[in-house]
Amino acid sequence: MEIVQVDKISKHFQLKRSFLSLGRSPVVKAVDDISFSIEKGETLGLVGESGCGKSTLGRTILRLYEPTGGTIRFEDTNVSELGKEDLRKFRTKMQIVFQDSYSSLNPRHRVGDIIAEPMMIHTEMEPKEIQDRIFELLKLVGLKPMHAQRFPHEFSGGQRQRINIARALALYPRFVVCDEPISALDVSIQAQVVNLLQDLQKKLGITYLFIAHDLSMVQHISDRIAVMYLGRMMELTTSRQLFDDPLHPYTQSLISAIPIPNPKRERERGHIVLEGEVPSPVNPPSGCVFHTRCPVAEERCSREVPEYREVKPGHWAACHFALDDNKVKIL
């Protein structure tokens, strides 16, 4: 069963018009016409390079950004139509964990107060109940009750991320957006946080949207993976399928670019080295946004936007040649 359904969602940011840009002000299409759904209890990974719009998409789903177009459904509720007050109440069901665990915790509040805040705002709980819940949450994320008295700066990055997770879980959310929660952490600490997130999912049945740029960690934690490029969805399928049979040239290049921590295999395999860099989202390429860097692009790709379609059962891709084996299998 789907818990989140996103239909043709877009988020465009209007840039300030400069003195020189006559006429219309430039628009960044950070998220452009994206549709997908998230199954209850699953982890959907969302990957892409910096600036591809993956964080914007995550925040738009929670309506931390107002979508420019499209609809978001959460179970039976149309989130995109909720009024201010209804939305505020609704927020208890969906939470977010940010990348920067330092700036997302108020440095002048004690950890206990930070975790208590959502409960004070959204519930009628008695102080004693809140206190108990704080201790319970701290234990749940692997911290100790005495940590409630401390300030965020007294913790390491990994511990601060645990506090963030505790706060996100305070109101028993059903759905949590993890916006690059491990990118700023060291490898050994990343594994701790990923294991914690997986344990919590098993225990509490939470659904995750796990945003990251590190594809190897994403495939480890995710049931399905969505790949974005320049504001558009390129491919979406199960993690297994994505690695065994990637249908989009961009996904293939992305996988090929990940260095494997195994010297022998690393020497043997080839790398697709993509030319150039991600174009500016203010002025994205015509047709398929990836055609300027695509190793198999044809003339058609610069004219026609490829349709994002279900190419095989449960496997969506936006490439004209997704099913043309001779063409797309570039590795």
Binding site: E49, Q192, V194, N195, F243, I255, P259, N262, V273
Partner: protein, 334 residues
């Protein structure tokens, strides 16, 4: 073949308001000409600081560097840590140069990229302006920057992240150095750009016969580029091995943990990652015992008493650990 750089017992301490930070505690290594030596470790492990110490790039008023570092050129041998600043200036940028992680902050924002490449050519090679221009354009082209004649006059902010890193590399290789130090040059970049920079460095190394010290925290990158690897923890090199030996036969519990913490590409995802509990120690105390003891799954009494010496496990493979991984038991006391 004799080594090009021989570092012995390097220690670096910082005197701060809060006390002394023991950042590097006894680093030894021999750098063989033409090889790529990777230095891996997490933040604060001292991987960057040890190399910056060698090049005299730390603030003299707070950093206290000890040890020896013999740098061998064709006919002379110099101890980088004993010579004067003037002499070191003649070596840095000419014989040994460095590429930093943060290209935007390492480049001068008010000089054009071309001027910055020319600078080292004019200082070290005695080029005049016109010669420097010609060579700089060549270099920009060689590192894969299109329209080099035009880009010569661009400022760093007009470049993208990947291009800035290419420009940094152009500056670093301008005088055809014997040793290139790459201090996390790809950490801030996206994977597809990372591949470009790694490939570029490898090509240049092949063409110019440089020796490369590659500092990184990414064991994936190391697997692809390194000949030998030093693993650092809390300011100490805890394992040194040829790259294949390290990945197949890790001998230090920390290395084992690091390798276990990275998910295998293409696995089903249900295996749990091996995580190393706890966090690295703070470095305000001089090490008295194994610095990994707090987090080590194999820890026993002796680990709390002394700092483990270097044990040789196989040829060219050393580890600082009292626990013998292969035999799965503590080593004999000598």
């Amino acid at each position: 073949m004799s080594s090009i750089l021989s570092v012995k017992n390097l220690t670096t301490r910082f005197n701060t308001f809060d006390g002394t930070v023991y950042a590097v505690n006894g680093v030894d290594f021999e750098l063989q000409p033409g090889e790529t030596l990777a230095v891996v470790g997490e933040s604060g492990s001292g991987k960057s600081v040890s190399v910056l110490s060698l090049l005299g790039l730390l603030p003299a008023e707070s950093a206290e560097v000890k040890g020896t570092a013999h740098f061998q050129t064709k006919d002379t041998q110099t101890d980088l840590l004993a010579i004067s600043k003037e002499k070191l200036n003649k070596i840095r940028g000419k014989h040994i140069s460095i590429v930093f992680q943060d290209a935007l902050r390492s480049l001068n924002p008010v000089l054009t990229v071309g001027e910055q490449i020319s600078e080292s050519l004019m200082t070290h090679m005695g080029y005049n302006k016109r010669q420097a221009y010609t060579r700089a354009v060549e270099l920009l082209e060689n590192v894969g920057i299109s329209y080099p004649e035009k880009r010569f006059y661009s400022y760093p902010h007009q470049f993208s992240g990947g291009m800035r890193q290419r420009a940094m590399i152009a500056i670093a290789i301008a005088c055809e150095p014997e040793i290139l130090v790459a201090d996390e040059p790809t950490t801030a970049l996206d994977v597809t750009i990372q591949t470009q920079i790694v490939e570029l460095t490898r090509r240049l190394q092949r063409e110019m016969g440089m020796t490369v010290i590659w500092i990184t925290h990414d064991l994936g990158v190391v697997a692809g580029i390194a000949d030998r690897v030093i693993v650092m923890y809390a300011g100490m090199p805890i394992e040194l091995a040829k790259v294949d030996d390290l990945y197949e036969n890790a001998q230090h519990p920390y290395t084992e943990g690091l390798l276990g913490a990275i998910p295998e590409l293409g696995e089903t995802g249900q295996n749990r990652l091996i995580s190393i509990g706890g966090a690295p120690p703070d470095l305000f105390e001089a090490p008295k015992h194994c610095q990994f003891a707090w987090r080590c799954p194999y820890v026993f009494e002796r680990c709390w008493k002394e700092i483990p010496p270097n044990y040789q496990v196989e040829e060219g493979h050393y580890t600082k650990c009292f626990y013998d991984m292969s035999a799965q038991q503590a080593r004999d006391e000598e």
